[in-house]
Symmetry: C2
Subunit: 136 residues, 2 copies
Amino acid sequence: MNNSVKSTSEPTLTDKFQRGNVLASGCPSRGVLQDVTSRWGVLVLFALLRGTHRFSELRKSITGVSEKMLSQTLHALEADGFVLRTAHPVIPPHVDYSLTESGREVAKRVEELVNWIEVNINPILNARDKYTQRYR
Amino acid sequence: MNNSVKSTSEPTLTDKFQRGNVLASGCPSRGVLQDVTSRWGVLVLFALLRGTHRFSELRKSITGVSEKMLSQTLHALEADGFVLRTAHPVIPPHVDYSLTESGREVAKRVEELVNWIEVNINPILNARDKYTQRYR
DNA sequence: CAGCATCCGGTTCGATACTG
DNA sequence: CAGTATCGAACCGGATGCTG
């Protein structure tokens, strides 16, 4: 749910009001960035770009995510206005998650990043292998 | 430095070889994605897009990062082939960090994401306030 | 089904001290 | 200057049990 700055080193006064510069620790964009680029946040946005999904569907499609983390991630993204949660009052409960307008905008950018990495994964892995060989 | 999969739930056999799908836990792209979207990874890439920098310069410009985390982040990005480390053999030591060709490619995509968030930070923050008011 | 509350082990992180 | 080593503290994340 991300409560302000997590760093224990107090942001300076200048930082605190330095909006518009992520490199400054007080910049509120850092918090949002954290939600979006969090381990599961990226994958949730990526998954929801392919359409509306229920909680259990997301849980299945995003392999490895726990119930708790998925829930937490969805809440954070909902709070930021990126994800829309729609609960249908039926029994058993049925809840749908989809992207909002701004959610689609961020998700598109996340997707571009993810896609680039997937396309170029082999050269990257090779680089990594070379690196570990040299410095092991 | 990211060693393969971190999730404790064992990836299934199908996962393990399911390349080309980040949503599967065995996909190697997830690891790279973690390096790139890590708390400080994003900011380092963003900063280096503005040119070559020394260790201490990065430490100063990226407010709040500790020496240890900066070092760790730079190593991970170097291993993935995104960052080039150039040590000049002088005393006192002088080390430059810059982006590689592929580093610039990822960084550009990271930048687009960051920029979008910065531009739209106010509506997002408002959404968050509304949310916390409603559910506090 | 969708999810919160709680516990708890492992990892990460930051501050500090130290080295080449 | 550019790091590594070390050590608590904080946090993450999974498992379990329970609710509507």
